[in-house]
């Protein structure tokens, strides 16, 4: 099955801190995605990448930024966390051809 990992699983942090959510996959997938999801609500695409040095913003505006320096790594950074950033962040990847997404376990972020 899929090998996509997110760390940390849970993060509680104070307002104004810089944070980076890690996402790595060992499947060699070109496409990677970040989704944001509040409890009981739908997933919103906030960033995606089609390959190294390729990043695009998704449909939901986000103050976070992403980078794709290596195929297997797609970290998400918040320069200054705020309570409004409290949410679950899900990373996913897929092959170049095909829409089968593999998701990580997610990072539950709480900003106090």
């Amino acid at each position: 099955e899929a090998d996509i990992y997110q760390t940390p699983r849970y993060l509680v942090i104070g307002t104004g801190k810089k944070i980076t959510l890690e996402c790595s996959q060992t499947m060699g997938h070109d496409k990677m995605y970040w989704y944001q999801q509040d409890p009981g609500m739908e997933l919103h695409l906030i960033h995606y990448s089609y390959g190294v040095n390729s990043t695009e913003k998704g449909d939901l505006s986000s103050e976070s930024t992403v980078s794709r320096i290596r195929t297997e790594h797609f970290p998400l950074t918040l320069e200054s966390a705020r309570p409004s950033h409290t949410s679950q962040y899900l990373c996913a990847s897929s092959e170049s051809k095909g829409e089968k997404l593999f998701f990580g376990s997610g990072t539950q972020l709480s900003v106090l």
């Binding site: 496409k31 995605y33 989704y35 739908e42 997933l43 919103h44 695409l45 995606y48 695009e56 998704g58 449909d59 679950q88 899900l90 990373c91 996913a92 897929s94 092959e95 170049s96 051809k97 095909g98 829409e99 089968k100 997404l101 593999f102 998701f103 990580g104 376990s105 997610g106 539950q108």
Partner: protein, 111 residues
Amino acid sequence: LAKTTQPISMDSYEGQEVNITCSHNNIATNDYITWYQQFPSQGPRFIIQGYKTKVTNEVASLFIPADRKSSTLSLPRVSLSDTAVYYCLVGNSGGYNKLIFGAGTRLAVHP
């Protein structure tokens, strides 16, 4: 990008067959239809994917009519552990492709 419409929620009982229908009226020729299952506090998990007619795997069947403007996910003999949110996605692998999730269908299976 094809928009999808699903029922917000459904209720069933253990041992019954559950059919969840998704409408995608503006599906494109190259689009595939993919269904995912999500449990609370977890990422969605791939269930099944199809292009036309019928696809069956060990957990579900997917029925797609000839016009492809809708699709039906069929879960045979559901159990309590099938209680989850089910998402229908429509998209293709060529070029510009953002996989957008709709609201999904919240299935509750009762004893």
